[in-house]
Symmetry: C6
């Protein structure tokens, strides 16, 4: 991928970190299925499938572990 889409794991808050985790989860899909047209076609399908939604949340949780560790768990943020 030629574009720069991830230059740092540091975020200013846990919520931004969580949102970055979501981005990583989506990019993991995008690298495997580069076609936006195909991904758009699949979206309504898994968006109504509880198992797929829970699985998505799991990928986010794993990425959030990485990002939270990178940020020292935002312990000094208020």
């Amino acid at each position: 991928m030629a574009d720069v889409w991830l230059s740092s794991l540091l975020t200013s808050s846990p919520q931004e970190g969580f949102e970055l985790a979501i981005k990583l989860a989506r990019m993991g899909v995008k690298y495997t299925q580069p076609s936006a047209e195909v991904r758009d076609r699949l979206r309504p399908q898994y968006g109504e499938d509880a198992a797929a939604l829970i699985a998505s949340s799991q990928v986010v949780a794993i990425n959030f572990q990485t990002i939270a560790a990178a940020n020292g768990y935002w312990r000094d943020v208020r």
Copy 2:
């Protein structure tokens, strides 16, 4: 998401940490399926599906790892 829903990973007890882990698991679903109406429709379905309930508990467990580490495992709490 414009709302601030996660300003810190620190909680005053392990149980509060566990409940925050549940919140993160749900938010992971919500970012993927923003429609409350669809999520409400799916709930009774996966609530009666053992595999989905176990998968949900797994997402909570992963998020709880993150939160517990953030809180130094609440070793000094009594």
Copy 3:
């Protein structure tokens, strides 16, 4: 949940830690499906399903990672 069911991750032995991991796995299910009646109905079903039993053991393993880390892996216990 109003009850206090998790006041510490510290246990006096690895086995107690493992049993606490099982409790966390069950609580992860309970928060998603609060009805004891529904959970009781599902139990015989997944108790005879190898995939569900292995998945349950996986959730326990993830929670045990957290608890073991919290307890410094009980290195000083004999």
Copy 4:
């Protein structure tokens, strides 16, 4: 469970640690399905199911992470 089956995570070699990880994976199943008769009935079924075997290996891998960390990765063992 009244029996003491896990008094330490320390083992004298990585291989013994891996075997302990297998024991933990089995105990995770046993706590959920205490009936030996049912577990024996399920065994031939999942023993011939590639997905179940891979899932079992995954639970072992997660438990092995915990045990390896507990043992300082056996870096000083030869």
Copy 5:
């Protein structure tokens, strides 16, 4: 495998680290199914299957944890 395909986990940016995580995920498949012909045949199939895409993203996430830790989370990179 005779070829050297992995000589270091260090990368110059998080994005390169993520791309290395994707490579590891693919190599994990390749070691199990060495036939390029079979893998090519399977690709269109899982590329249109939401569950498989999410599962792929999960493997990437796990490998990214390893690579991010190896790189000290690229905290000093700008």
Copy 6:
């Protein structure tokens, strides 16, 4: 298992570490299904199943986390 098959987690390169992770994933299967005849029978089946291949890659990824940590991520190797 009487044979010594795992005497150390240390390897001289990340690639050897990845290959050891594959071995651990296979041994996790072997301890659950000791029959080589059954495992050989299952191989062509899951080797053509994208979900099983992705799941295998995931087990490798988890074992690789352990081995990479054991080796200090091979930061000093060139």
